[in-house]
Amino acid sequence: MTLEQILNELHRAWVNEKKSPTLLDAKPDIVECVLEQIKEMENNIQSQNEFSLKINIHQLEVERIRFVLTSYLRSRLEKLQKHFGYFLRQHEAGITTKLSIKELQFAQTISTDTYDHLDQSALKHMPAVIKSIDLLSKVPPPNLEKYVFASVKESVDNLIVDPETDDKVADAIDMKAGEQYLIRYKLIESLVDNGQVHLV
């Protein structure tokens, strides 16, 4: 993939991750690619060794790419730290694409450390009846009902907006490419992962 394509993908992943209330699929290959590119660009710059405007512009570009990458990883880490119970249980239930291996390790360490702290500070002094708690289910899950702005990339037909109940038929909409919607995140969760819909 060319540098431009990689950067476009990173940019797209960054915006989607920032606007989404939950974690999207982990993209470790994009992260690896971008890190390698940054290293190559820095090596190129170092080997030049004269102070020209071109070098400055390249350096600024490297800084900007580094910012986008760190911001992407930071927003993932923030969501992971806030809702680690939900994501760890999701992983145990079999949905393994959301967390990279390192992120999974990090989440597990956080989970054990937090439980140990609660145990040491209070739980171990409590009577046997309430001595342990299920930390993973107590940690608040992400708010999937949040409204997000979405821009449709590929047409989607028959998206169920309201499920069928006894009173009425299921309410469905057709989304054409290029349209923009303000819609509950839960309805388009799988579409964002597929790339059919972008968050704005």
Binding site: K39, Q105, L118, S121, P127
Partner: protein, 195 residues
């Protein structure tokens, strides 16, 4: 009434929520734990009476009320401890891996240990990204220029830059430095960005 001390703990935390961490209220935590213990013991007496079938309906109601009191106290304690941990976590991202001593004195011993463990796991994660690791606490704002003008607020003596040259950080001296090296010092408060 049961659960009052638990509520006071939560109110304590709520009052301090905008600033940095408030002091760890060891005394109140202990009192809440004692209350839980007292409730359990009272309940055990009643339950043993129920087993012998010498209890009345009021006793069963009392057992339920005490149980809910216990659970509520536990919930208040968990909320207090957990939210303090969240606060400490934000402090790590603000101040870096060394927290100023006046805030540190507000943390309990176990919170200090949790902070060290968090530092370790965060450093491990950041170090595993790419070859040399990627410091996620840098580059918080998008860069719009390579070099920035900073004024030094404290005496720090000499500092070495990445390109080998050294600069002398005297109070009120103005320097024109690359952004990446200033960022952590600006966050610490040693340098001030002149706009």
């Amino acid at each position: 009434m049961f659960g009052e001390k638990g509520l006071e703990l939560i109110q304590d935390f709520h009052r301090n929520r905008d600033g940095t961490l408030g002091p760890y209220n060891e005394e109140k935590v202990r009192q809440v734990l004692e209350e839980i213990q007292a409730l359990v013991e009272a309940n055990q007496k009643d339950v043993s009476r129920a087993v012998k079938q010498t209890s009345s309906r009021t006793d069963m109601a009392a057992i339920e009320v005490r149980h809910f009191g216990m659970v509520r106290n536990q919930r208040c304690l968990m909320a207090y401890l957990y939210n303090r941990l969240q606060k400490i976590r934000t402090l790590r991202w603000e101040f870096g891996s060394v927290i100023p001593t006046d805030i540190k004195s507000n943390m309990s011993e176990m919170e200090g240990q949790w902070f060290m463990k968090y530092n370790r796991s965060l450093a491990f994660y950041m170090g595993s990204l790419g070859e040399n690791g990627l410091d996620l606490t840098q580059n918080i704002k998008p860069p719009d220029s390579l070099l920035i003008e900073v004024r030094c607020l404290e005496e720090r003596g000499e500092m070495q830059l990445d390109n080998g040259s050294t600069i002398l950080l005297k109070k009120n001296s103005i320097h024109f430095l690359p952004r990446s090296q200033c960022e952590s010092l600006i966050r610490e408060g040693v340098l001030e960005h002149i706009t």
